[in-house]
């Protein structure tokens, strides 16, 4: 434990982390473990969304802004430092009654772009498919549509998200999970960390959606959790970042998400 962190003791100060609500629970766990070792450091975790995280980093009102989506090119230009602290696998989920157990990336693409609209076309019962997606801008959606090619570059080279207009849209992991769990014939996608038996996670290209498979690179759909900073890190902030990236920090990450080292 604490011995791997020689610089931490005697540290004081306050570190503010603000932004993505998806990263927030993880940050909170990391912070409380860190504060157990460094009782004189206060770490404040704020939500608000990735947009707020990016803005907080840009305007230097937080030590770290957090984001659960990749930065756009123009955003990258305004942020000095970007740290990937964890990865989050994205599982494709169906309502538990569905008999389908495996889909290829292409089938998923056809479903989410509205080309396939009935479960019987992919080996299930004869029932219309109800697509559940996340809101525009969501990191989970960003990662999902990119890897499944639901989003493709057009002739001009800009990515176009072709998610069907007939998709139900839910604004959070919890909402997608509850929707899929309670609505027959649905398909959606949520963070692997949030999986439980109310929904059924399927294999993609024959690979189970597990943290191990993401880590091994076999399961493809994942997104990064980012810490962003535009300032010279304070000693306390630096120590917190070091702690997160240390073996001990990554062990905490591994409880629900995918470590980066």
């Amino acid at each position: 434990g604490a011995k791997t962190e020689p610089t931490a003791t005697g540290l004081t100060g306050k570190v503010v982390v603000a932004g993505s609500t998806s990263v927030q629970p993880l940050s909170e766990e990391l912070a409380s473990a860190f504060m157990d070792i460094n009782p004189d450091v206060t770490i404040e975790i704020q939500g608000g969304g990735s947009g707020v995280g990016i803005k907080a980093a840009q305007d230097k009102i937080a030590d770290f802004g957090s984001s659960s989506r990749e930065l756009k090119a123009e955003e990258k230009a305004t942020i000095a430092n970007e740290y990937v602290i964890a990865k989050d696998g994205v599982a494709v989920v169906l309502d538990p009654a569905n008999t389908v157990t495996d889909l290829s990336l292409d089938q998923i693409k056809q479903i989410f772009t509205g080309k396939i609209t009935n479960w019987k076309e992919v080996g299930g019962a004869d029932a219309p498919i109800v697509v559940v997606s996340r809101e525009e801008g969501s990191g989970t959606r960003g990662a999902f549509v990119e890897i499944t090619k639901v989003s493709e570059k057009d002739a001009a080279g800009t990515a176009v998200d072709n998610t069907t207009k007939d998709a139900l849209v839910q604004p959070s992991t919890g909402a997608v999970k509850t929707t899929v769990a309670n609505t027959p014939n649905t398909i959606g996608y949520i963070s692997i960390g949030a999986l439980d038996d109310t929904v059924k996670a399927i294999k993609v290209e024959g690979i189970d959606a597990t943290e191990a498979n993401v880590l091994a690179g076999d399961y493809k759909i994942s997104r990064p959790f980012l810490y962003l900073s535009n300032t010279e890190l304070t000693p306390a902030a630096q120590a917190f970042l070091d702690f997160i990236l240390s073996a001990e920090g990554q062990a905490i990450v591994a409880k629900d998400f995918i470590p980066v080292q």
Partner: protein, 295 residues
């Protein structure tokens, strides 16, 4: 004494100015943040465009406008009669003690966070629409389908959410109608119903209308509950069982992750929302004045 009064009166003015300034500040804030994209993208394209997909650079909000109007209208159709009926029952019919309990219970609804309404709608109401309402509708329109995520679901939940506003404010103004008016009406042989409908409600009209306008504001502005149950499908709806996305829901849902241009677009949605509420208020005021002529 005099000096003290002057100071307090100045303070009152200061308070009025503060509230006016906050109103102005927010208005300016919304317009400053949203106007640039509205101008660049074109007001007409923005308002009448039917494709909302900001990540692809399409900012047509007609479907969102349709969604907001249909859900709000639905909420008012359901909520206003319920609210006014409750206000009447509370102030004119139920005995004092029972009325107080009923009223406190309704006021309690105001303090429940909207996420809770949202999850209630998501887990109870949406499946109920799918399993109970849909079969009934199918008796008439056999081809009807719905996932339950619908205008109807949104309208019901919003109707419940605006009840406290409508009930409490209406009830206060009904109660404030002087007893002389009731007596005069009853003494002419009018029954209680006629007295309520022809004398009390018209006399309390200003308060009732204010309550409806505030309730409408709440319905339009409500987000967390709506985004969980209307399906957020930016398509122009064909019926009350279709999914819709609303202006406010879209703002709330997408703002958290939005990048700079997307955020601007969401503020532009805010501007349009501003206009729509202005329009609806004007309609409400005008219809109220129209009524006055007839009474």
């Amino acid at each position: 004494m005099k000096a003290y009064e002057k100071i307090v009166e100045k303070l009152i003015i200061v308070c009025a100015i503060i509230s006016t300034i906050s109103v102005v500040l927010i208005t300016v804030f919304i317009f400053r943040s949203g106007l640039p994209i509205l101008m660049n993208y074109g007001v007409i394209d923005f308002i009448f465009g039917t494709n909302w997909s900001p990540t692809n650079g399409n900012y047509g909000i007609l479907p969102l406008i349709a969604g907001t109007l249909s859900v709000t209208l639905g909420a008012l159709i359901i909520g206003v009669p319920m609210g006014i009926a409750s206000a009447i029952i509370l102030s004119e019919i139920l005995p004092g003690k029972v009325a107080r309990v009923f009223k406190s219970a309704i006021e309690l609804l105001a303090g429940i966070p909207s996420v809770v309404y949202g999850f209630f709608g998501l887990i109870v109401l949406v499946p109920a629409i799918r399993t109970f309402i849909l079969p009934i509708v199918q008796l008439v329109v056999p081809k009807a389908t719905t996932t339950g995520f619908s205008i109807f679901a949104g309208a019901i939940i919003l109707a419940i959410m605006i009840l406290p506003t409508i009930v409490s404010i209406s009830e206060n103004s009904i109660k404030a109608v002087p007893r002389e008016f009731r007596e005069a009406s009853l003494a002419l042989g009018a029954n209680k119903m006629e007295t309520i409908v022809r004398v009390i409600i018209p006399a309390a009209k200003s308060g009732i209308i204010a309550s409806i306008i505030l309730g409408m504001g709440r319905a339009i502005g409500e987000t967390m509950a709506v985004i969980l149950i209307t399906g957020n499908m930016p398509k122009i709806p064909g019926g009350p069982l279709d999914s819709v996305a609303t202006l406010t829901g879209t703002i709330a849902m997408e703002m958290g992750y939005a990048d700079a241009t997307h955020q601007q677009a969401l503020f532009a949605v805010g501007i349009i929302l501003f206009m729509i509420i202005m329009l609806l208020n004007a309609i409400a005021q005008i219809s109220a004045h129209g009524l006055r002529g007839n009474n």
